[in-house]
């Protein structure tokens, strides 16, 4: 365990813990909005930010955060106004961001080797100042993802219902993509811009296989994210491969292990009966002198194993010495 005494590994491990917590946390909402590939598109936009930073000789992380957040807001506004379908918007993000990033990096005299540190992660590239930015932004994303979970859950599950609740749906939708953009860029040192989307989506899917309920799934995904991110960083150190690849392969392995568990659970679950609900409260009709029967002149409605009689806003059936409303 000498490895954890190394300063660069300590920084990489702290960054991995934060990324492992944050990526699946915001990923839970991204998956729920059926935008699983949003992280991938934002990763490509962040590449433009890295290229711009290399071109202007500034620190890549802050520039990438700003560019990626701006791209995320733009794409959400386009999506909201219906001027671009989700697919087209993501395609613009993919190719525009990647192409401009590579162009600017090339113009700055940086080759593919430099960019690959940001695309797949690099243990040695996490600087102390990077770690401060990752920690601050990571805590912000975590507080929002957990503290606003009820509101963001409602918006992702049913936008119309959320509006009728009086929630600021547009603001929450924007918040989700901005938090996703921040997450993508802060993860570029560990899991990398091209693979971060996997850490946003796969732990969420794995957690869905293991835990019941939205909130349990959220915390479960964060736990799985931390385990695979930390394991991936250690694995990357010993295998001398980019950490992003190791983390994602571990995440997929965890998902594969969880798959039979959910299948087993589904087999054990009894088939739901259409009528499998408790009866509604027994409600007698007050004072009913008329006796219903065939030919009494009231409308008859078949109801399960009996018939109800309809009149004067009532639909009821005889029960012992009284009538019950049905």
């Amino acid at each position: 365990m000498e490895v954890i005494t190394l300063a660069f590994m300590q920084r990489a491990l702290i960054a991995a813990i934060l990324t492992g917590l944050v990526a699946p946390a915001i990923g839970t909402y991204v998956v729920q909005r059926r935008l699983s590939l949003l992280g991938d598109g934002l990763g490509h936009v962040a590449i433009a930010g890295v290229g711009l930073a290399l071109l202007t000789h500034t620190s890549p992380l802050p520039v990438a955060v700003v560019v990626c957040v701006a791209g995320a807001v733009g794409i959400e506004l386009l999506r909201e106004r219906g001027r671009a379908t989700g697919d087209v918007a993501l395609a613009v993000l993919f190719y525009g961001g990647l192409a401009s990033g590579v162009l600017m990096a090339g113009a700055a005299g940086q080759g593919a080797g430099t960019l690959s540190n940001y695309l797949f992660g690099s243990l040695t590239s996490v600087t102390a100042s990077d770690l401060v930015i990752v920690a601050v932004l990571g805590v912000v994303v975590l507080i929002a993802s957990v503290g606003l979970a009820p509101q963001m859950f409602a918006v992702c599950a049913d936008e119309d219902f959320a509006r009728v609740l009086g929630l600021r749906v547009r603001a929450y939708n924007l918040l989700i993509v901005v938090l996703a953009a921040i997450t993508v860029t802060t993860a570029m040192r560990t899991v990398g811009l091209l693979l971060v989307s996997a850490l946003m989506v796969i732990p969420v899917a794995t957690s869905q296989n293991l835990f019941k309920g939205f909130r349990s799934g959220l915390y479960g995904a964060m736990g799985i994210g931390v385990v695979v991110a930390l394991s991936g960083v250690f694995g990357s150190f010993y295998a001398d491969v980019p950490p992003g690849a190791f983390i994602v392969v571990l995440a997929i392995a965890a998902f594969a292990v969880s798959w039979p568990i959910t299948s087993w659970r589904h087999r054990r679950r009894p088939l739901a009966s259409v009528d499998e609900v408790e009866p509604l409260p027994h409600e007698p009709t007050p004072e009913h002198e008329h006796v219903h029967g065939p030919g009494c002149g009231h409308r008859v409605v078949e109801h399960g194993d009996h018939v109800d009689y309809v009149h004067d806003g009532h639909r009821h059936v005889a029960h012992a010495d009284h009538y019950d409303e049905h």
């Binding site: 859950f153 119309d160 009728v164 609900v277 509604l280 002149g297």
Partner: protein
Amino acid sequence: MSVIPVVVDDLNVSLGGLPILRDVSFAVEQHEVVALLGGNGSGKTTLVKALLGLVPHQSGEIAIFGTPLAQFHAWSQIGYVPQRASVSLHTTTVRELVTSGTLSTRRPFTRLSRAGKARVSEVIERVGLTKKADDAFVHLSGGQQQRVLIARALVSAPPLLVMDEPFAGVDLATQQRLADLVRSLHDDGMAVLVVLHETEVFEPLLSRAIVLREGRVVKDGVLETHDHGHEAEPPGGTVRIIEEVRPWR
């Protein structure tokens, strides 16, 4: 307090330049159960969405509990039951979905109070799903899912319930259960506006029906019944027979 829950006056709605609702006027009084009837494309769902502010209107007035829609913020007074809920995280439980109905009165970064949790359990019990409260929503039958959506709308104890085709894809026996549930809510004093394709099991509950055709109100009145001399006329003697309702029955 005798504020009319819904007043729509001369409403016009166009979507994508296409007129959907034309000069629509109607009201839902307190303690009324009003059906919105009409064929496919008649504008029923658009009307419901317009009066909830979910689609913009080009002209006309909408007032909810006496407040113009643009100034209306007391959203806990409206319970909205959409046709269906799109729940993509398949482990979301009934209790979690119903709990989201508390958000009209909850501030961000606050936990649900003990009273709030009790209210969630109470409405789940009311719709007869206590044993299913911690089950995944997507594993329920269509009728049970509809009950969950009703429970979610009821959490804030709203005086107005707006339901958009609650019977879509639901078998007859379950329709009767849902109608029973709505009857008990109406008995508690709730006003109900419900979009229906067919009146059928809802018919005994309806105070009034509004028929839309091509975006216009073509009929608004009390349904004719099959009773023979037993039906009491509503106050004011404003009974109107809606012949056009029959084709949808």
